[in-house]
């Protein structure tokens, strides 16, 4: 592992109360994420990936163990984390620009600064001309771009993404993956991204963590040593196919 750990997950377990003994979702997870690393989380549906992300974001207290972010124990939402939800999760009454600047407005930023940041973000995610559009007028891919821009607006150190392209069609999804890669290269962030898509994980990540069935443990860890910048052609190389095979076999 290179660089110092930005995020550490230490013996993390989560059990939901559900009447009959509780639902054991996360079972003693142990891993860390280095600064500027892009980590993909894969695993069967219902294996607790979203639960983990919510725990990392401080939205859900763990039953046991702890999360350490920037050397501090997470206990409530920490500062410096951007969260991209499964659906774009935009406020339908706010325009694209207003959605993007929400984090700045909440932090009490001056209007001028927010407007400048919004222009920068709109440009970064390629939504020029849609600043005044309302979410209902956006396609799924565009809405997710807004969500990414919003998550990046307050310049977080860590970006948590919960299947951000899960609801998109295959083509849009691939395009958004490349787009995310471009954004990530433009402003290096530490990223932890939940995905179902093996190709997506390999295209984007430095490292892939595979979760077991519930209760989730890390059943495999894979370093994705494919060269960067990664271009679309990479998908058709034997190295890509070999890694893809290994991940496929690990997810059961």
């Amino acid at each position: 592992m290179t660089g110092k750990a930005l995020l550490e997950v230490i013996r993390l377990s989560t059990t939901f109360r559900n009447g009959n003994g509780g639902l054991h979702v996360l079972d003693g997870l142990d891993f860390s994420v280095a600064e500027y690393q892009f980590v993909a989380l894969l695993g069967p549906s219902g294996s607790g990936k979203s639960t983990l992300l919510r725990t990392l974001a401080g939205l859900l207290p763990p039953s046991r163990g702890r999360v350490v972010f920037k050397g501090q124990r997470v206990d409530g939402p920490p500062r410096g984390v951007g969260y991209v939800f499964q659906n774009a999760n935009l406020m339908p009454w706010r325009t694209v620009e207003e959605n993007i600047t929400l984090p700045l407005e909440l932090a009490g930023a001056a209007n001028g600064a927010a407007a400048a940041k919004s222009r920068e973000m709109v440009e970064l995610v390629g939504l020029q001309g849609f600043e005044e559009a309302l979410p209902r007028d956006l396609s799924g891919g565009m809405a997710q771009r807004v969500a990414i821009a919003r998550a990046l607006a307050h310049d977080p150190d860590l970006l948590l993404m919960d299947e951000p392209f899960g609801a998109l069609d295959a083509i849009t999804r691939e395009r958004m993956g490349l787009e995310l890669l471009r954004i990530w290269e433009a402003r290096r962030k530490t990223v932890l991204m939940v995905t179902h898509d093996i190709a997506e994980a390999l295209m984007l990540a430095d490292r892939a963590l595979v979760f077991s069935e519930r209760p989730a443990r890390v059943s495999m860890e894979l370093t994705v040593d494919l060269p960067r910048p990664r271009l679309d052609e990479l998908r058709y190389t034997p190295e890509f196919a070999a890694l893809s095979r290994r991940l496929r076999d690990a997810i059961r």
Partner: protein, 296 residues
């Protein structure tokens, strides 16, 4: 009897005043259907007036049972000229507006608290439901005894009658705020006030204004009920006096004025919806299919 003058009367009658309000009502929320909605509405009203006359001619109904539209119109002009109609209307309008404001404020406060706290909800729910089971008409005499025949008792009847629908809509509205957006606000360290202003209020507004639509028309009913029980002013009072004197035309005048008042309030809420809920045109249209004032 007076058939020849009939078509000309349509123009200035109450019914055409109603036509104005009618298309006011259908047009505010449904801008897309504006043009198409107008023609059938006007036709329906013309038909209504025609049937009204038809009933009188064919059935031979006496004017002191059912006055003709032009007689009601004439009575309206007289009541307008002597200032009594405006005076009574103003009294009722004051009661309605004050009652609506009081009832809505209390309902929104309670509703918000109930929506936020399940403990409070469990504790208060039986009282809230029980309060709804008691007919307001039955409480109105008590309120008049306790608070006198003046403004206060009517305001309270109005407030009571609008309380429940607005309370329920507040609870439903606040509960309907998407959990993911709450998580977003939490992850961004939004304060309680920010969450309220930037998330809960706009997210709950469509449902809340739906409650106001119902409340606005109910408030008018509340005022009339209060005035029936004990008052010396207001449209409800005018109505019962007119009935006592067999001035049926004046009864109609009072009834139509009340309808106009309810529709205007309803239109104001619809206007507020249009101003604030542009972001969800579609939902607004589907809500229009349930239209409580149509019953009046």
């Amino acid at each position: 009897m007076h058939g020849v003058s009939c078509p000309g009367l349509l123009r200035g009658s109450f019914v055409s005043r109603m036509a104005m309000n009618k298309d006011l009502m259908t047009n505010f929320p449904l801008s897309a259907r504006r043009g198409r909605a107008l023609a059938p509405g006007a036709f329906a009203l013309a038909l209504g007036v025609f049937l009204w006359y038809a009933l009188i001619w064919l059935g031979g109904v006496q004017p002191f049972i059912l006055p003709a539209p032009h007689q009601v119109w004439g009575r309206f002009l007289r009541a307008l000229a002597d200032g009594s109609l405006a005076g009574h209307s103003w009294v009722t309008l004051q009661e309605v507006l004050a009652g609506l404001a009081l009832g809505a404020a209390a309902a929104m406060l309670f509703g918000y608290a109930l929506a936020k706290s399940t403990v409070l909800e469990k504790f208060l729910a039986p009282y809230v439901v029980a309060s709804q089971a008691v007919p307001t008409v039955a409480i109105a005499p008590l309120l008049v005894i306790w608070f006198g025949p003046g403004l206060a008792s009517k305001v309270l009847v109005c407030a009571l009658i609008v309380f429940f629908p607005i309370l329920i809509n507040t609870v439903v509205g606040v509960r309907s705020v998407p959990e993911d957006l709450r998580d977003l606000m939490r992850s961004l360290h939004a304060s309680r006030a920010q969450t309220f202003r930037l998330l809960e209020l706009p997210a709950a507004l469509p449902v809340l204004l739906g409650g106001f639509r119902i409340g606005a028309t109910l408030a008018v009913i509340g005022a009339v009920v209060g005035e029936f029980v004990g008052a010396d002013r207001g449209l409800g009072y005018l109505l019962s006096v007119a009935r006592g004197q067999y001035d049926v035309a004046l009864v109609f005048v009072a009834v139509f004025t009340l309808i106009a008042m309810a529709l205007s309030l309803y239109g104001l809420v619809a206007l507020a919806e249009r101003a604030t809920l542009g972001w969800q045109r579609q939902a607004e249209q589907s809500r229009m299919t349930f239209n409580p004032t149509e019953k009046n």
